[in-house]
């Protein structure tokens, strides 16, 4: 059976060019870059190229730091726990302001920090599914707040948050600002010269790099207690032998992703929109955030009368991979907060299914997946106890 992968917000295919770039560092150029002999030193030129690519990718200045680490979760943990040790633990600024729709790498870490004395405020999203400046202004007390952490783009809805104005306001108030940009890199332009963030997290496997390697941007002069203590790698900011192949791969993946942004914006968006028009041609369906600024690859759709997991089960049997944030499939039974915030019926809160494309998704795949989707929705609605076609 031909398989169609529409779950690129979960992870992506490693670009063959990325694999080609990293391969020699697993087999021939395997030295430890900290070694004094040539096995170590011969790697340095390649590392410099890779690091340059990362800096260029997000337009970092040479004075800034980009730590190479294990994953997006590590970057987020590093920021939150670092700020805890630097500020929260020994000053009146006990507060972290974040949102109700962050990835668990942020929200669960905040919950942990609450247990050791931090105060956490989780901002709600507005009726357009995003956190707006007014909400931040109403909640940000600079005398009590150590950090604001707000994602750039949401993993489930693809909605893009107004990170520029949120960061600018936070900086005016003299408070540190972090953004989890894991779902943004490779989908929309990310520029740390334009957006005054102090910290920014990304992860290679979300933009056609390998799993197990990520990055944390730290603006020039910003202090951050390390998560991993040990050797002097990364200037003492992150101990542990450098994942050479991972760094080379992430550098290549970053360059390719940034070069493909225009393709992403035009072609991936066209295919995504084509798919969405099929979704919306079916009765009683919704696309969350339609018409709002969204990443060009993501569709969060709702099909009345069909529980999300049942739909992705059926799609999977026909070779189409999608995902759900609905209750049945995940440990959490909470309805999706974005669904509730944007005023969608509570009845629909378990019907969300996410489709996410990539630059490797073809038009044939989208057409085939559309066809399968239509049949699947038909079958499951024929079983559904709650669906009767409305006359709307």
């Amino acid at each position: 059976m031909e398989r169609i992968y529409l779950d690129n917000n979960a992870t992506t295919l490693v670009d063959p060019k990325v694999k080609e770039a990293m391969d020699p560092f697993l087999t021939q150029l395997y030295g430890n870059p900290n070694s004094l002999h040539t096995f170590g030193t011969e790697i340095h030129p390649y590392l410099r190229i890779a690091v340059d690519r990362l800096y260029e990718g997000i337009n970092a200045s040479d004075e800034d730091d980009i730590l190479v680490n294990g994953c997006g979760s590590e970057g987020n943990n590093n920021v939150l726990k670092g700020v805890y040790f630097d500020i929260i633990r020994n000053s009146p600024k006990k507060r972290i302001i974040t949102t109700q729709v962050e990835h668990p790498a942020v929200s669960h870490t905040c919950r942990f920090l609450e247990s050791v004395g931090a105060e956490v405020i989780s901002l709600p999203v507005n009726d357009r599914g995003i956190v707006d400046l007014e909400t931040l202004k109403a909640n940000l007390d600079p005398d009590k707040t150590a950090l604001v952490s707000i994602m750039t783009a949401n993993n489930e809805t693809g909605l893009i948050f107004p990170i520029q104005e949120l960061a600018e306001y936070t900086k005016e108030q003299g408070v540190l600002f972090h953004t989890d940009a894991v779902q943004a890199i490779g989908k929309i332009p990310v520029d740390v010269q334009r957006i005054p963030v102090d910290f920014l997290t990304f992860s290679a496997h979300k933009f056609h790099g390998p799993k197990g390697v990520g990055g944390l941007y730290i603006r020039k002069g910003v202090k951050l207690t390390p998560l991993l203590h040990g050797g002097e790698q990364m200037g003492g900011r992150r101990a542990g032998t450098l994942d050479v192949a991972g760094l080379v791969a992430m550098g290549m993946a970053m360059e390719l992703a940034v070069n493909a942004l225009e393709y992403e914006e035009k072609e991936v968006r066209r295919l995504r929109d084509k798919f969405e028009s099929v979704v919306l041609s079916l009765p009683d369906t919704l696309v969350i955030g339609k018409g709002q600024p969204r990443t060009p690859n993501t569709t969060l759709a709702s099909f009345r009368g069909i529980e999300g997991e049942a739909l992705i089960w059926d799609l999977n049997h026909h070779g189409v991979a999608a995902s759900t944030g609905s209750a049945c499939a995940s440990e959490s039974l909470e309805p999706n907060p974005t669904f509730l915030a944007i005023g969608i019926d509570k009845e629909l809160s378990h019907t969300g299914v996410r489709f996410s494309l990539s630059r490797f998704t073809t038009e044939e795949e989208i057409d085939k997946a559309s066809e399968i989707l239509v049949h699947t929705v038909e079958r499951l609605r024929s079983i559904s106890s709650t669906y009767t076609q409305s006359s709307r």
Partner: protein, 321 residues
């Protein structure tokens, strides 16, 4: 945590083949119309349970012969995940041919057991058990409708968890049937306490009459007391007159042996009890699927004997007729 927990299992990998098959091809999906019922001169029962907002809803259709109370046909529709669809399908199947009173005895544990590929491998992971509880609840509702219990009576059920509409009785039943020991398990089985969490323990954002922690403690205490009472009977068994011995044996058979056999469509009858100086001989007669089953003379027989020995007296010997 241990080796097997390091790489979290995929939820779907933990479904049995039977769950998977029934999700793909439910045999009893659909509805039964009033016209069909009228044409066959049978009574149509339609029962709903759950709600979309909770993530699971099921509708059960029964065609019942009013003369014999037998469920002639059953169909279902479901808003739910794969497990909910598969459980509902099997639930409908198990109803067919049973009387309404027999059908009410079908539990979520029976449904899960029938969905297993191998006897000792669960058909669904624990966090999906609540989906099979739905199937159990809807049968109870259908039976209440058939028996003409005022539907307002149903609404009078003491609801513990408003979000998931789980009744006190349901919570007590799942604790007993599944031998649950923690509130987390109750939540997994019923969804009670999964949403606003007010019903878990005092201190939530809504004050409640019942809290899961209290229900759990009280139900476990009641189970403990019943266990003790059973133990008292145990001590007294040798002293009982023969008729009471017979009754005590029948009681254990009804409660613990018959459910085991009925899973495979078998049954048995206690025919006679004889007392000897060193032994108490219990004569049984198999029926249903036990007849001709290889195990009924060996493994099953030993199991029955072990249960009776443990519950009543080590002197008991079970003999088939």
């Amino acid at each position: 945590m241990a080796k097997k927990d390091l790489i979290g299992g995929s939820l779907w990998e933990q479904y049995s083949q039977k769950v998977s098959d029934r999700m793909d091809n439910p045999r009893h999906r659909g509805d039964i119309t009033q016209e069909e019922a009228d044409a066959k001169k049978l009574k149509l029962i339609v029962a709903d349970y759950g709600a979309e907002a909770c993530g699971d809803a099921v509708r059960l259709f029964w065609l019942v012969d009013p003369k014999t109370d037998t469920i002639v046909d059953a169909k279902f529709k479901s808003f739910g995940c794969g497990t909910a669809i598969a459980s509902s399908d099997l639930m409908a199947e198990l109803c067919i041919g049973k009387t309404v009173d027999e059908a009410v005895k079908i539990t979520n544990v029976d449904i899960e057991f029938h969905l297993r590929d191998k006897e000792d491998e669960p058909a669904i992971p624990p966090q999906k058990m609540h989906c099979s509880v739905m199937a159990y609840d809807v049968i109870k509702r259908a039976a209440a409708i058939y028996k003409g219990v005022d539907s307002r009576e149903l609404e009078k059920e003491e609801i513990v968890c408003e979000c998931a509409r789980v009744s006190l009785k349901t919570v007590q039943d799942v604790i007993r049937i599944n031998d649950l020991k923690t509130v987390e398990e109750i939540t997994r089985f019923t969804k009670a306490g999964a949403f606003c969490k007010s019903c878990v323990q005092p201190g939530g954002h809504e004050k409640k009459k019942y809290y899961l922690v209290d229900i759990l403690r009280d139900t476990r205490a009641a189970m403990e007391r019943e266990g003790l009472r059973k133990a008292e009977t145990e001590g007294g068994f040798p002293a009982l007159p023969l008729v009471r011995k017979f009754k005590a044996i029948e009681k254990i058979v009804e409660a613990e042996v018959r459910p085991l056999l009925s899973r495979d469509g078998g049954d048995l009858e206690v025919v006679d009890v004889k007392e000897n100086p060193e032994t108490v001989e219990v004569y049984i007669r198999y029926s249903g699927a036990c007849l001709g089953c290889m195990s009924s003379g060996r493994g099953t027989l030993m199991t029955i004997q072990t249960i009776l020995q443990e519950r009543l007296s080590p002197k008991i010997r079970v003999i088939t007729l």
